[in-house]
Symmetry: C2
Amino acid sequence: MSAMDDLMAYQRDTEALGQVAGRLEWDQETMMPRGAAEQRGEEIGALEGILHARRTDPRIGDWLEKAEPEDEVDEAYLRHIRRSFERQTKIPAALAVELARVTSVAQGIWAEARAANDVEQFLPTLEKVVALKREQAAHLADGGDLYDALIDDYEEGATAESLGAMFDRMRPRLVALRAAVMGAAHQPAPLRGHFPAEAQMRLARKLASGFGYDWACGRLDLSVHPFSSGSGTDTRITTRVVEGDPFNCFYSTIHETGHACYEQGVDADYLLTPLGGGVSMGVHESQSRIYENQLGRSRPFTGWLYAQMTDTFGDLGLGDAEAFHGAVNRVHAGFIRTEADEVHYNLHIMLRFALERELIGGTLEVRDLEEAWNTRFAQDFGVAVDQPAHGMLQDVHWSVGLFGYFPTYALGNVYAGCLNKALRAAVPGMDEALARGDATPATEWLRENLQRHGGLYRPRDTVRRACGFEPDEGPLLDYLEAKFSEIYGL
Amino acid sequence: MSAMDDLMAYQRDTEALGQVAGRLEWDQETMMPRGAAEQRGEEIGALEGILHARRTDPRIGDWLEKAEPEDEVDEAYLRHIRRSFERQTKIPAALAVELARVTSVAQGIWAEARAANDVEQFLPTLEKVVALKREQAAHLADGGDLYDALIDDYEEGATAESLGAMFDRMRPRLVALRAAVMGAAHQPAPLRGHFPAEAQMRLARKLASGFGYDWACGRLDLSVHPFSSGSGTDTRITTRVVEGDPFNCFYSTIHETGHACYEQGVDADYLLTPLGGGVSMGVHESQSRIYENQLGRSRPFTGWLYAQMTDTFGDLGLGDAEAFHGAVNRVHAGFIRTEADEVHYNLHIMLRFALERELIGGTLEVRDLEEAWNTRFAQDFGVAVDQPAHGMLQDVHWSVGLFGYFPTYALGNVYAGCLNKALRAAVPGMDEALARGDATPATEWLRENLQRHGGLYRPRDTVRRACGFEPDEGPLLDYLEAKFSEIYGL
């Protein structure tokens, strides 16, 4: 056995154990009896301990030194393993333990503070988390930018500078679009009514099938927060059902189907290797977003969905498919990121990006965060935050130390915009297929041009290769302006 | 940290990882998408590799040498850990690998041979498995009896000699009872009809509740073969539904509820320790059997079930509760162990015990097994085996190397007989409660007197302490003779 073989055999078991951890998380959110929470914590803790020990095993360093790659796939394997090993070993064990301890407690304190609408209650904890993340970033950054070092964990190669410049270009156009849409004379009516859970779930399954989700290698269940989980031949999705709001179930399902199709679409040869899943958070989000928005909220597809829903639920009280398209794409004021429409969403992200960049950079103190949030929110959204639970306390991310994660959501939207442009140019008859509820031509194109590569190329290269051009914010903004101008008669 | 503390902390993680493996098995039988089988094999393999390495880690030997127990609980911890460590380390790694390899292939070959009804197809493989199990037993036995060494894995302290003597005492009484029952003039009619799956499952949940199953720490799902899984606060059960035979679902559910209540009833202090589950296969089976048979098939309980079923399904076409009791307890000729009634069941086990004892002892050749099986079957069951799939090819056990496992089923029945005698003497009003569908007084007594101890005492001592007398076959045989004499008017 060569060093390369040894390393890959070792890595394969680690990947398999990582999948096991994923199964446990899926079970916890879908199936686990409520009384098992504490015991499950110990079970996951034991498994994470094994995984951490494996990922920092000094033998990896030896193998990496001796391993001789034979092709670009081997090189990509080594690149991923080296990257993970170096990140893990740069962080002192004591700091890793302290971070795990503090963020685990912080999540509970954050939840209580949000429930109590009390920022003060959360600040000392958030200060601790920020201090520890800055310390962690300093170990990772090798003298470089602290925030870049954190972003790199979720999006290899992305930097605060390039993201910041892109967001600066996006912001004025989005703010202007938002203001125009909200001030438009024509405002689509929202969908109202009661939509029984079982019928919603039947249609949700049909939606997932329509996007090419492979049921032999996955399943759909309910959870409080929708998610997708697992890689390769076991890629499961969840959704939720609100009987007054079927779009919640349907578009969560389509979103998670996008994530899952990406995982299912990776070349089977990469199963249980470092290339065997989506390459980054941003590219992952590009798949979920293009499925959800550019495809799932397109006029031909909502036309088909309108017919499905009237068949299932009877008259929807909206008049026609055109009004239904408006209801699906309705832009509404709101404080909460997770409830935001396509026009507002990226403004939420840019706000968080700007603030966390400053927090990690040391130019914004935690105690000044609320004011900074509220000021920026008023600028971009045209309304004042009415309570902390609708402001800086709304997201769990910071309490658990996820700094550098938020921008990948907006990057996913930007990539989705680029991929949609390329897809439309490459696949004729897309709209006709969507009008039949069939998005599989899109999945096939995405699989062939992006999904199958898994982690073979770097994130941005993965998207560039699929698009045939350098990705930037242009196609997304053009798409948003065209779509919402038309719907709102701007 | 003392050696005792180090050892227990290490063991706790191992126990937690063992629970994780259990969750994966549960998932595989209930939830896993069918396309994930191969990937799952790798995931389980990686986890089993970790578990095996942990269980044979040389540090355990050092800790065991230095650990100083402070009380009987510590002593029991050390006893279990030492026992497991010694068993694992006595077997050469190459033999363990070869056994795993051969039995994994053998299971498939057995399944094909059974489907083809072809003994010859299976014999070379079974010969290999027997030879490897004899080799394994020789490593474990330290010059003692080979078969004892294998039994000891499932039932600490049980020996072929004591089991053989007990089975020799049971056999004539069971053979006589079987003949008398089958020759009786009065034969109860079987239940016939169509019983919708959903209604069966609703009643199955009610049954589990009636026996005190804690739903906050468990759940009920469907699987091909019913099983219970997990320990402590996450103890799940499965059942199956055959729409023409609701007793299949109901009594499988009660049986698995017995296993699960045992796990749920273990003292919470023992969670994720070597004492945190049922102490042995035999004692485990005593819980499932007393729930299923002595309680669940008792006249007061079937009276309640009759009312429930007529409420749910309408007229059952049997006439009255008495006829229903007869249908539940109907004794029927049959070749298959898993379909056997209370009168036939132990005869199936004794046959397998006698044959596998000789196979492992070297006094019966694999090529002579079929004839030996068929001869013995004709003697005890009064009919000739009509085809190998109904004879020596019916069970999976031998193909996967489970020699020494069968006798624990009969031992469980014997223990259930003893516990039932003690329970009836100790708990007044048992029949009145059962007549209301309430078996929780039995669960409470069993929890207090047996279940809560987990692995604290040795298996036989566990039962003896609960009963207040030395367990033997007497109470079971008395119970069977009385019950079936009455039902069949002997």
